[in-house]
C-alpha cells in the first residue's frame, strides 16, 4: 500500500495524527520557559520539526504551500522584533533596556518580569521555528536548483 511518492499509508496517517500533538508539545515547552526546563529555543525546534516531518512525509511542495518562505521570513523577523520590542518598551516606560519590572502593569514586579520573559520566549520560539524550517527547506531544496 504505497502511493507514487513511496510513503506508506501508515506513515502518512500516523504523521497526520502526530503533527498537531508535536505542535502542542512545542507550545507547552515555550510556555514553560520562565519557570522550568524548556524555553523558546527548545520549543521552537519542536515546532519546527513538526513542519519538517510534514515535508518529509507529504513532500516539499505541500510543506511550502502551507508554510511559504515569505511567511517564514516574516516570522523570523517578527520573533526577533518581539524580543527587542519588549526591551524598547522597558526603555520607553522609564527603565533600562530589558529591565522587565519597569513595565507599567497593575501587577507585582516579579509577575511583570515573568510575563515579559514569557513574551521574550514566545519571540525566540517563533524565530527558532522559522529558522529551523528555512534551513531544512534550503538544504532539501538544493537538488532541484
Amino acid at each position: 500500500m504505497t502511493d507514487p511518492g513511496g510513503v506508506s499509508i501508515v506513515v502518512r496517517t500516523v504523521s497526520r495524527i502526530m503533527i498537531p500533538f508535536i505542535q502542542l508539545f512545542g507550545i507547552y515547552t515555550i510556555a514553560h520557559g520562565e519557570t522550568s526546563a524548556g524555553g523558546g529555543f527548545q520549543g521552537g525546534v519542536i515546532l519546527g520539526t513538526s513542519i519538517i516531518l510534514l515535508s518529509i512525509v507529504f513532500g516539499l511542495k505541500e510543506a511550502d504551500r502551507r508554510m511559504p518562505r515569505e511567511l517564514l521570513t516574516a516570522f523570523m523577523c517578527v520573533g526577533l522584533l518581539i524580543y527587542s520590542g519588549i526591551g524598547v518598551l522597558d526603555l520607553l516606560s522609564g527603565g533600562r533596556y530589558l529591565e522587565y519590572s519597569s513595565l507599567p502593569l497593575p501587577l507585582p514586579p516579579h509577575e511583570i518580569s515573568a510575563l515579559s520573559i514569557l513574551g521574550v520566549e514566545i519571540g525566540i520560539g517563533i524565530t527558532v521555528m522559522a529558522v529551523i524550517i528555512l534551513l531544512f527547506f534550503c538544504l532539501a531544496g538544493e537538488r532541484d536548483a
Binding site: 515569505e70 521570513t73 523577523c77 526577533l80 533600562r96 533596556y97 529591565e99 519597569s102
Partner: protein, 494 residues
C-alpha cells in the same frame, strides 16, 4: 534619552536588521533608505555621546538594571566614544555609497545584503561599547559571521573559497579569544572588564601561569583578527573577492575594531603596569613591536608585487596594521597616540581608496593596474580622491597620513632603547608606499590616454568618496583639534 545612548547605538542597527527583511517583502527598493535612516540616527546619537562625554565623563549603563559584576555593563570612555563616532561616520558614508554598487554587483540580493550589513555594524558597535568580556566575544562573533557571509556573496566563485578560509582561520581566532576569556574567568571569577582588572594582581599571585596563558591566547587570537603578519593569510583573498562595498567596510573598520580590542585587553583589562611587571617572563610589547615592524615592511613589499588593485590595497592594509601594532608595542604615550591616530587616519584613507576603486570597477570593470593608463581623463574626480588618499598613505604633509607616522617616529625616538631603530623602519616604509602608489598615479595622470570623454561615477558613489578624501585633508590640517582628544584617550590608558 541621552542616558540610554550606549544601548541605543547597538539596538537601532539590530532592530533595523530585522525590519529590512519585512520591508523587503513589501518594497525591495526601500531597504537602502531604511539603512541610511538608521545609520544617520546612530551617527547623531554617537555625536551626542561625544559631547556629553566631554561634559560629564565616562558613561556607564547597566543592561536590564543588573549591576556589575553580575550584569552586563556598557561603558563609554574616551576610547570607546572615539571608536563609536568613527564607525558610525564611516559606515554612514559607505551605506550611502552602496546603493548603486550593490544594485550592480548583487542584483536581487539587496535585502539579504542590507540585513547582513546592519548586523555587521551592530557587531562592530557592540564590541566597542561593551564593558563585559563575554559580551565582547558575542559581538565579535556577530561581526565575524556576518563578514564571512558578506565576503561569500562576491561575484566570482573564488569569493566562496576566500570566505571559507577566513571562516576557518577566524574561528580558530575566536576559539583562542574565548579560551583567554575562560581562563580569566577561571582565576578571577568575573567577566566585567573593570572587575577583572582589579582582581587580576591577586589572581596572578596565585595562578601566574593561567594568567599568562590567557594573555597569550588573547594576543594570538586578536593578531589573527587584525591580520597581523604572519597571521594575515586570510586577508588578501577576502578583500580581493568581496563586493566593493564590503571590501571598503572591512578594510576601514573590521581590522580597526580588532586593534581596538587589542588595546582594550592590553591596557584596560591587563593594565600597562601589569604588562611591564611581567616583561621579563613575557616581553609582550617587544614582540608586538618587532612583529609590527616586520608587518610594515613585508606587507609593503608584497603590495609592490601585486597587479590586481584590490589585492594591492589588501596587502597595503597588512602593512598599515603593522603601524598600529607598532604604536602599541612602543609602549610609551606618544607611540600609542600615533597608533590610535593611525586607526582614525587609516580608516579614512583606506576607505577612500577602496571606494574609489569600487567606483572604477563599477564604471569600467578594470582591476589590473596596467589598465589604469590615462583613466584620470575618464574619471577625474574619482581619481582625484584616490590620489589624495594615496598621497596621504605615502605620508605627504599636510595630509593626515603624515601625522600618524610623525607621532610613531617620535614615539620610537622617545623610547630611548633599541626601539629607536623602528623610526628607520617607518621612514623606509614610506618609500615603499610611494613605490606602489606612484606607479598607479603616474599611469593615471600622465602619458597617453585611450579615453577622450569624461564618464564619471554616479553622484551617489562620487560624493562619499570625495567626502572621505576631504576628510584625509581636514584631519591633517586640523591635527591640532584631534591630537588633544587622542592624547586624552591615551592618558586614560596609561
Amino acid at each position: 534619552m541621552i542616558q540610554h545612548s550606549p544601548v541605543l547605538v547597538v539596538i537601532i542597527p539590530l532592530v533595523t536588521a530585522f525590519l529590512i527583511p519585512l520591508m523587503g517583502l513589501l518594497r525591495k527598493k526601500y531597504c537602502i533608505y531604511l539603512s541610511v535612516l538608521s545609520m544617520l540616527s546612530i551617527f547623531v546619537i554617537a555625536a551626542s555621546i561625544v559631547t556629553s562625554l566631554v561634559s560629564s565623563g565616562t558613561i556607564h549603563y547597566y543592561l536590564g538594571g543588573w549591576e556589575p559584576p553580575w550584569g552586563i555593563e556598557y561603558v563609554i570612555d574616551p576610547l570607546s566614544s572615539f571608536m563609536v563616532i568613527l564607525i558610525t561616520f564611516i559606515s554612514l558614508i559607505i551605506v550611502v555609497y552602496s546603493r548603486r554598487s550593490v544594485e550592480k554587483e548583487l542584483p536581487n540580493n539587496e535585502v539579504a545584503f542590507y540585513t547582513l550589513f546592519m548586523l555587521l555594524i551592530t557587531g562592530l558597535l557592540g564590541i566597542v561599547v561593551t564593558g563585559d568580556l563575554f559580551n565582547l566575544y558575542v559581538f565579535l562573533e556577530i561581526a565575524s559571521l556576518t563578514a564571512y557571509a558578506l565576503i561569500a556573496v562576491g561575484e566570482k566563485r573564488d569569493a566562496l573559497v576566500a570566505s571559507f578560509n577566513y571562516l576557518i582561520i577566524g574561528t580558530i581566532a575566536a576559539c583562542f579569544i574565548l579560551l583567554g576569556i575562560g581562563f580569566l574567568y577561571m582565576v578571577t571569577g568575573s567577566l566585567n572588564m573593570a572587575d577583572v582588572s582589579t582582581r587580576l594582581p591577586e589572581a596572578y599571585g596565585q595562578y601566574p601561569k593561567v594568567v599568562l596563558a590567557a594573555l597569550a591566547f588573547f594576543v594570538v587570537g586578536l593578531s589573527i583578527k587584525v591580520a597581523l603578519f604572519p597571521l594575515h593569510l586570510w586577508l588578501p583573498n577576502a578583500y580581493t573577492h568581496a563586493p566593493s562595498t564590503v571590501s571598503a567596510l572591512l578594510a576601514a573598520l573590521m581590522t580597526k575594531v580588532g586593534a581596538y580590542v587589542m588595546i582594550r585587553i592590553i591596557f584596560t583589562v591587563f593594565g600597562f603596569s601589569f604588562i611591564t611587571q611581567i616583561t621579563d617572563i613575557a616581553p609582550l610589547m617587544d614582540i608586538l613591536s618587532i612583529v609590527g615592524a616586520l608587518a610594515i615592511i613585508v606587507g609593503a613589499v608584497f603590495a609592490i608585487s601585486q597587479t590586481d588593485i584590490k589585492r594591492m590595497l589588501a596587502y597595503s592594509s597588512v602593512s598599515q596594521i603593522g603601524y598600529i601594532v607598532l604604536g602599541i608595542g612602543l609602549s610609551n604615550p606618544i607611540g600609542l597616540t600615533g597608533g590610535i591616530l593611525h586607526i582614525l587616519h587609516h580608516a579614512f584613507m583606506k576607505g577612500c581608496l577602496f571606494l574609489a576603486v569600487g567606483a572604477i570597477i563599477y564604471r569600467t570593470g578594470i582591476r589590473d593596474i596596467f589598465d589604469f593608463q590615462g583613466i584620470g581623463r575618464k574619471m577625474p574626480y574619482t581619481m582625484l580622491a584616490f590620489s589624495i588618499a594615496a598621497l596621504s598613505m605615502v605620508g605627504i604633509p599636510p595630509l593626515c597620513g603624515f601625522f600618524s607616522k610623525w607621532f610613531l617616529v617620535l614615539g620610537a625616538i622617545e623610547s630611548k632603547s633599541w626601539k629607536v631603530f623602528f623610526s628607520l623602519v617607518i621612514l623606509s616604509s614610506s618609500l615603499l608606499n610611494a613605490g606602489y602608489f606612484f606607479r598607479i598615479l603616474e599611469r593615471t595622470w600622465f602619458g597617453e590616454s585611450p579615453y577622450s570623454q569624461r564618464d564619471e561615477a554616479p553622484i551617489s558613489m562620487l560624493l562619499p568618496t570625495l567626502t572621505l578624501a576631504a576628510g584625509c585633508i581636514l584631519l591633517g590640517v586640523l591635527i591640532f583639534v584631534s591630537h588633544p582628544f587622542i592624547v586624552s584617550i591615551v592618558d586614560t590608558l596609561f
